[in-house]
């Protein structure tokens, strides 16, 4: 069975004024289904760029990224948006919940892009909130939640569509030690109990320890 994610000879560079700044150099990486991988590296090493490429919110300058046999580097912007809605769950460092929507409404948001009925959306969003332990906070607005609770709501939003891959960009970077521990335990549970494939970028060696596998990236190269 081929790996769920295949990254083949991927390079990425940005233009700064008239200079081309290379960020990733010829990356090759396979991620198996059900894996919990941590990407580590110093600031500016290119780890978030690699995460963005895998998540389909940025495109490589060269190379191929195949996720479950779909070459996402070839998809049009519209097709890529649809692909993201169906296959990727995002967890951001600063949670990125929509402040004017309740926890429930935030979690329901990705389901609006699916053909589910309102009743089905409600059932699915409530299940996701129950999994992350926020069933009693679903009517709360983000500002009424603690940092850890906000991130749990963000995780509920990430899993509500049952995506192929959950992507986390420094998911514990803005949390205190206890809340970070809670989040990592929750991610571990998603991986072990629900067989989800997780890929996180982190600076924190303690967070990386919870992953099955850790990859290091430095100056655009996997080391």
């Amino acid at each position: 069975m081929p790996p769920l994610i295949q990254i083949q000879d991927v390079s990425k560079s940005y233009m700064r004024d008239s200079f081309e700044v290379p960020v990733l150099n010829n990356i090759n990486l396979d991620i198996e289904e059900g894996e919990f991988m941590a990407l580590m590296g110093p600031s500016g090493s290119g780890k978030t760029t690699l995460l963005n490429l895998i998540a389909g919110i940025d495109k490589p300058s060269s190379g191929k990224i195949k996720v479950s046999d779909t070459d996402i580097s070839q998809l049009s912007e519209t097709a890529l948006a649809k692909w993201r809605a169906n296959n990727i769950g995002f967890v951001f460092q600063f949670y990125n919940l929509i402040p004017v929507l309740t926890a429930y409404e935030n979690v329901e948001l990705p389901l609006l892009l699916t053909p589910l009925s309102k009743k089905e959306r409600k059932k699915q969003a409530e299940t996701a909130l129950e999994i992350v332990g926020l069933a009693d906070r679903m009517k709360h607005y983000p500002k009424q939640l603690s940092g850890g609770q906000e991130q749990r709501a963000a995780i509920a939003r990430a899993i509500v569509t049952d995506p192929l891959v959950i992507i986390g960009d420094e998911p514990t970077g803005d949390l205190d030690k206890n809340s970070a521990e809670e989040i990592l335990t929750l991610m571990e549970r998603l991986n072990k109990e629900f067989k989800k494939t997780l890929l996180i970028v982190t600076h924190d060696p303690h967070a990386a320890e919870r992953a099955n596998i850790t990859k290091h990236i430095d100056k655009g190269d996997l080391v």
Binding site: N52, E77, T78, A85, I88, N96, I98, P99, L101, L112
Partner: protein
Amino acid sequence: MAIPFKYSFKNFKSRNLTTIITIVGVALVVFVFAAVLMMAYGVQKTLKETGSVDNVLIARKSANSEISSIVSGDVQGVIRTLPNIAKRSDGSAIISNEPVVIINLDRQEGGISNITVRGVSETIKDLRPQVKLTEGRWFNFGTRELIVGRSINERFKGAQIGDKVKFAGDFWEVVGTFEADGSGFESEFWGDGLQLLNAFNRGNSVSTVTLKLESAESFDSFLNAFNEDRRLQQFEAKVEQAYYEEQSTFLVQFITALGVFITVIFSVGATIGAMITMYTAVANRTVEIGTLRSLGFRRRNILIAFLFESLTLSILGGLVGVFLASFLQFFSISTINFNSFSELEFSFALTPDIVVSSLIFAAVMGVLGGFLPSVRAARLKIVDSLRAV
């Protein structure tokens, strides 16, 4: 599916001040816009209601108003022979030969204005039954007495019962006041037509002849007979209501053109206000936009959500503006009608058409103001907008 509308609505609440300022800006412009249209329609309505559908007004073809029209005595005699003219119980035709002149009078608040004085014939109560005496008595025919319309009575010096108005070298006593369903007649003095002709040395040439038809439907038959009579070639007969409505044309066009020109200039300010609000909204919500895009919402969804926000703000402003403007219906103002060169009082009048036009005007401001910021929001790169923490 699109980004839910509640997302936009809840965002209004989260930035109360800018939302209110934008709504107020649009509301003020829409208020002025609606007021201008209400003013123009008020003039038109007042003059239209001056005439009746079963009355026919005959004036000289070349005259663009009653004061510039002359109908000589022999022509008045020819008109009297035409068919379909209604008759009183005593068999006399309901016709009023009317000299119309303009005099000057002082306003209560200072300044002079032109006032129409209309001479009427004895059949006048049958010709214009909508005219009701409110105080005093009717003038006596054969005397130099006048009755005064409500509007002039309230706003001009020397136009009260017992006052004597001086014109044509004589004093004319005001003996009564009248109302006429808020029409243009309320901005006039009425007296005996023959006395007026005599005072102004006009012989027997009146300005216009107005007659009542047997029924409104007999106008075509009357008009055929009128047009076939070669002695009446220099004259034209119009339904009284249509004639007075035409008298409003120039003033209505002037008010509309000037008003719309001014409000369009104001609207640039309101549009820029909406634009600034929406640019600020986009700048404040850059990360949200990046998040929504990364969740799978398309550029088009973002564009529609922000345009909807701008449109909703402007429509709310429009509704507030129209609501405020609706209170103008309780006010009356007066101006000189350019056609008759005389004072005309009218009320602001709101119609469903004006409400729709005002809301469309508000919506256009919203779309124009919101378009560029919405395009900017939709064009943000996901990676860049997520970095804007």
